[in-house]
Structure formats: structure tokens, C-alpha cells
Amino acid sequence: MLKLESLIVNVNNQDLSAMVLNMTIFESIKGYLRGSFTVQDNINFYDTFIHTTQPPIQIQFEYLNTLCNNVFYGNGVSNMKIEKLGKVYTIHFISYTAMNDQLTIINSVYSGTSDLIVDKLFLESNKGNALLQIDSRADTKGRYVVPNIKAGSAINHVVSKAYDTNNSGLCLYQRLYDQGFTRLTSLWDMSENYFFGDDKEIFNLTQRLAGTSEGSDGLSGEDMVGTSASFELSEYYMNFTKKLADGNWGNKIQQIHLDETAIKKFEVNERTDVPVTVYKTSDNLYDDNVKSLFSLGFEPSSFAVNNQRKRSYGQYMNVLNVVAVPGLSAGFTVGLDQGGSNISSTKTDDNNYIIANINHRFIMDDGEFDYAQDIGLIRE
């Protein structure tokens, strides 16, 4: 593993980095950043600063000349062990937006495309103190009456039913290296969003014995970046029959239209014809031909979008203990360098995977922090 060049962990403006034993930060295309770190507290920091507050936590590190700086909020303490020399405990933290999503209640009306509604909800939730980057424009639009619910729930409703012009579902997520802002991106655009290496080629996660010294395997530090000894295809269409039955590859959709007191049958445009009867949100909920944002929620295209979300996890590959790649984040697409092995891909014609999540791990070793990444990869 390669080591961090610096680490600052400020809790209530007190630098705890000297007390940190290990730290993980998890990012995923399914949500916001969160993490935890374990400290050896022999200065009674907990009683002084933490136990009654939700303190801001700044985590800043430098790795291979890349500076990463994020601010989180404490979200509780667990696993406290009180020992003679002090306390050992784990401080959990979440992002600012995740906290606001839970604490902000929204009771308002929004209209427009799904991405713009998400933007307004996000602004309402974070009072303009956080930024949203819209990478993909939504094709879904309409009115959304937010019925006095948590901002997070409202945003989830919109995002879960939204898709872009490519009939690809949207994801709202945060990256560690985005340093504070949030992204709205479709799976389609993620698959086109390649992470490039220094050679301007698509970056490959490489299967090698990593973590050894340059002297032992001849690899320089830069050569080691993005290598891992462990590629694990943890799931390849597991429970395929059940997923077929559940309609992950298409349903024969019968839709009840209360507006017309009729049942509309749609042709199956995917693989299976397992029937499902759904109810359609009225097209006439509002005057002036304004439709609900969720009127399209049960159209076959919407089902296809949701199916794609599920199917993309049908091939789920874990690449563990990767020598950390600076800037590598969820939502990028990377290649796999199989090397002499053939285990890294089951599709020889397509070695590219979307990074679904990364668990950034920082482990204290001889007074410095090793930085490793556990990466989850998906694709259709």
C-alpha cells in the first residue's frame, strides 16, 4: 500500500489525527458519503467535545499530490472500550447533505423536469450551503406536491422515478474527491464517463500482487496504483430464475387506468412476459393539463428503468484492497486488466465496469496511514 502524505481530522476544530487508529469512508452511487474512524482517546476528548453534540468533522488528506478535503457531521459513537490508558471508540460521520435530508421537512409544490425538481428540493434542504452537479438531464417531468415529508424521502421519490432520454435511471450520490458537492447522473452517462489514467487511456484496475515493496517486485509506487490481488466476482446473475420471475428482465404489464376505467395492456419489450398489474397515477390530477411527476411512474419504460437499476447489479464484482487511485470515484467507468488470468471478466467483449461504490480505508501503520480502496463494480 501507499501512504498518505498528510492527514488532518478536525473534530470541533481539534485535530485528532494523532489519535486516529483507522478510518473508512464509503461512497456509493446509491447515496451520500458516510464513514467512521476509531480513536484512542487518552485526553478525555469524548467528554469534552463529543458526547452532547453533533460536531463538524473536517477530514483532509493528501495522497500522491492530490489534496482531498471534506466536512462531515458526527453521527454518534459506537464500540467504546474504556481502558486504563483511555477510551477507544469509533466516531461515525455523515455528510452535511445527509444530515439535512433527515432534518428538513418539505411541504411545497414543484414543477418541471425531475432533475430541476431535485435541484430545488436540494436547495430547500441545504439552504444553498451545498452544491448539486447535474450531469444528466431527466426526461421525466410534471408537478410534485411534497406532502410534508423529509427532504431525503422527497428527493428519493423523484430520483427513483426519474430517467433520462436514454431511458436510463438517475442516481444521486457523492464522491469523496468531489470535496463537498453532490451529483445527479444517469447510469447511461456513468457508463460513458471513463476514468482516464496518466496515459490518457481508460484506466484499468490491474490484477497484480500489490502492496509489496518496489524492491521485491520491481514495481514503483506509481505502477502499484490501481492494482489488487483480489478480484472477486461475487455475483453473476444469482437467483436468476427468481429475478426473471420478479420481472427484472421485463414484465407483461397490465395497467389499470382509473381515468378511463380501463385496463391497458402493453407489449413486452424486454425478455420475460411474467405478468404484473399496476395502477397508473391519473393523467388528470391537475388543471390545465398539468401532469403529476409520477404519471409516468408505471409506464413500461419506467419499469425498464428500474429493471436496469437492478440488473446492473447482476454482475457484481469486488476488487479488494486496491492500492488507492487518487481521484477514482463512484460513477466512473474503468477497465479491468486481466493480466494472465481470465477471472476478471465474464464478457470478453466488454471489460468496462461502472464503479458502484468505493470503501476508502486508511489504516495506521508505523505512524503513517496506508490508503487502500475496496471497489464494487457493476454492469449490465
Binding site: H157, N284, Y286, G297
Partner: protein, 282 residues
């Protein structure tokens, strides 16, 4: 999960019987214009198609209960209304509650029977509309009634013994395109404060077992407008007052009582031939 709310708009632009409901807590900050239209669940005894069955009858302010049809809570379905106390005012009709007849003080006819209104809660089933039209089906023991009333006061009431009492506060008109029959076992009394007209296209036949009396303070005129037709008195005629003939008098009687008849101021007793009298009586 069941939600409660208040009806805030009933002017459904599509006239589907929908209403806008401001669901408590969920729509507190939502303006009425932004709310969605909610369908109302109707009872299974109304077909709810082709214009058949009952129409939705909600008012602005009605407390309703319902559910959301979708997980995003956008489409509300009204399952029913709740009669309680709206802003402290009893929602149940005074007639349901068995209180005093709200129309008791209205003017009645001189011969009009009194109302059989004596409802006891909870036997009286009442439907009253916003303007004040009322239908009552009162099952109160010994005081079973049916009453239907227009907001103006025109109404009919059928009381426990089957008698019907009808009040029309303005004009009455009835068109019968076919035939009409009124059969009365008892007496009929018609009281007309103004004039009465009977216009008959065909014959007017009155068949009376007893007597016929026509009593007037003015003239009584029997007239046929066709000069070839006559007024026929097909029985003995008793004239208790004076008899005045303005035109020719023709007698075709086959016999005479020989009782002198005063004509033109002097007696005649001719029995053998018709008598023709001309000239002005003296």
C-alpha cells in the same frame, strides 16, 4: 394508512365529481390551486356509469377521510365524509337529531292538516342539500313519514296513517299527455279564492247521484256559441223567480197543464196549437 382532510374545492373542471382535499398535516402549506383532484368512492348501490346512480355531493368544508393511491402520496381517494361538528356547528341535520321542526312556523291553509313531524333520533333518515331541499324517510315508531320539500317551501308529506299533505307555495301546473283519472271514495272539497276555469275540448259530462247546486252572487250563464245548438233542460223546470225571454219563444209541448202562463203581461191558456208571440213584451 388513513388520512383526514377538508374539502376546499368542488368545481371540478372535468365535471367528474372530484374534489380537492387539503389533507391535514400533508397539505398545510399547499395552495388550493396546486392541489390535485381527488376521486370519491361511491357506495356499491350506485352504478357510477352512464350517468346512472347518485352524484357526488360534497361541500367546501366537508371533513373527509381517505387514502393515497400511490407511494408518493400524490393521488388522494376520498372514502367518505364525517359528520361531526364543523367549526362547532352540528353537522347532523336538525331533523335527524329530532329537534323542533325548522319549518313549523310557515303559513298553512285553512283546512290543512297538521304535520306528522315527530322524529326521534336516530330513526329519521334525512338528505338536505346546500340550498335547503330536503328528503326525509322517517322511521320513528308510530310516526313513520315521508317528506320531500323544495327550499321554497313547496312540499308533500305522507304521515303514519297514509294521509298525504301537499303544500305548493306558488303556482301548480300538471300536464297529462294521456288520460287522467281521480277516484275518490270520500268527499272532495275544492276551495278557490280566485277564479276557476274549466276548458274542455270535447264534452263535459257531469253524472251526479244526488243534487247539483250552483250558487253564485253574480249571473249564471248557460250559452252555446253555435246558433244551431240549444241549451236543453231535459227535465221539469221550476222557475222560482221571474223568467225573461229576450228573443222568440217557441213551445212544442204535446200537453199542457192549462195553468195560465203569464206572457207579455197577460194570461194565455191556448192548448191546441203552438203559440208564436212576436213584438216587445209590455
Amino acid at each position: 394508512m388513513i388520512f383526514f382532510g377538508k374539502v376546499v374545492d368542488i368545481n371540478d373542471t372535468k365535471k367528474l365529481g372530484r374534489a380537492k382535499v387539503k389533507v391535514y398535516d400533508l397539505h398545510d402549506n399547499i395552495e388550493t390551486k396546486d392541489l390535485s383532484w381527488s376521486m370519491a368512492l361511491m357506495p356499491a348501490n350506485t352504478p357510477a356509469q352512464f350517468g346512472h346512480g347518485q352524484s357526488v355531493n360534497l361541500q367546501i368544508g366537508t371533513l373527509v377521510v381517505g387514502i393515497f393511491l400511490d407511494s408518493a402520496q400524490q393521488e388522494f381517494l376520498i372514502q367518505g365524509s364525517l359528520p361531526t361538528k364543523t367549526d362547532g356547528v352540528e353537522d347532523n341535520n336538525v331533523r335527524v337529531r329530532g329537534e323542533a321542526d325548522p319549518n313549523a312556523g310557515e303559513p298553512a291553509g285553512g283546512y290543512q292538516p297538521v304535520s306528522g313531524y315527530q322524529p326521534v333520533y336516530p330513526y329519521n333518515n334525512v338528505m338536505e342539500t346546500e340550498s335547503g331541499h330536503v328528503k326525509e324517510y322517517d322511521d320513528t315508531p308510530s310516526h313513520e313519514r315521508i317528506m320531500e320539500r323544495h327550499m321554497s317551501g313547496t312540499q308533500y308529506e305522507i304521515i303514519a296513517n297514509g294521509s298525504k299533505n301537499e303544500t305548493i307555495v306558488r303556482d301548480n301546473y300538471r300536464l297529462v299527455v294521456g288520460h287522467d283519472t281521480l277516484e275518490v271514495y270520500g268527499d272532495v272539497r275544492i276551495i278557490v279564492s280566485g277564479h276557476a276555469d274549466i276548458a274542455v275540448g270535447g264534452n263535459l259530462t257531469t253524472s251526479v247521484t244526488g243534487n247539483i247546486a250552483a250558487d253564485a252572487f253574480g249571473d249564471i250563464t248557460l250559452k252555446t256559441n253555435d246558433t244551431t245548438k240549444r241549451v236543453v233542460l231535459d227535465a221539469n223546470v221550476l222557475v222560482k223567480g221571474n223568467l225573461t225571454v229576450n228573443e222568440t219563444t217557441t213551445t212544442s209541448a204535446q200537453s199542457s197543464s192549462r195553468t195560465p202562463v203569464l206572457l207579455d203581461g197577460h194570461d194565455h191558456d191556448e192548448t191546441h196549437s203552438p203559440i208564436t208571440q212576436t213584438g216587445i213584451p209590455n
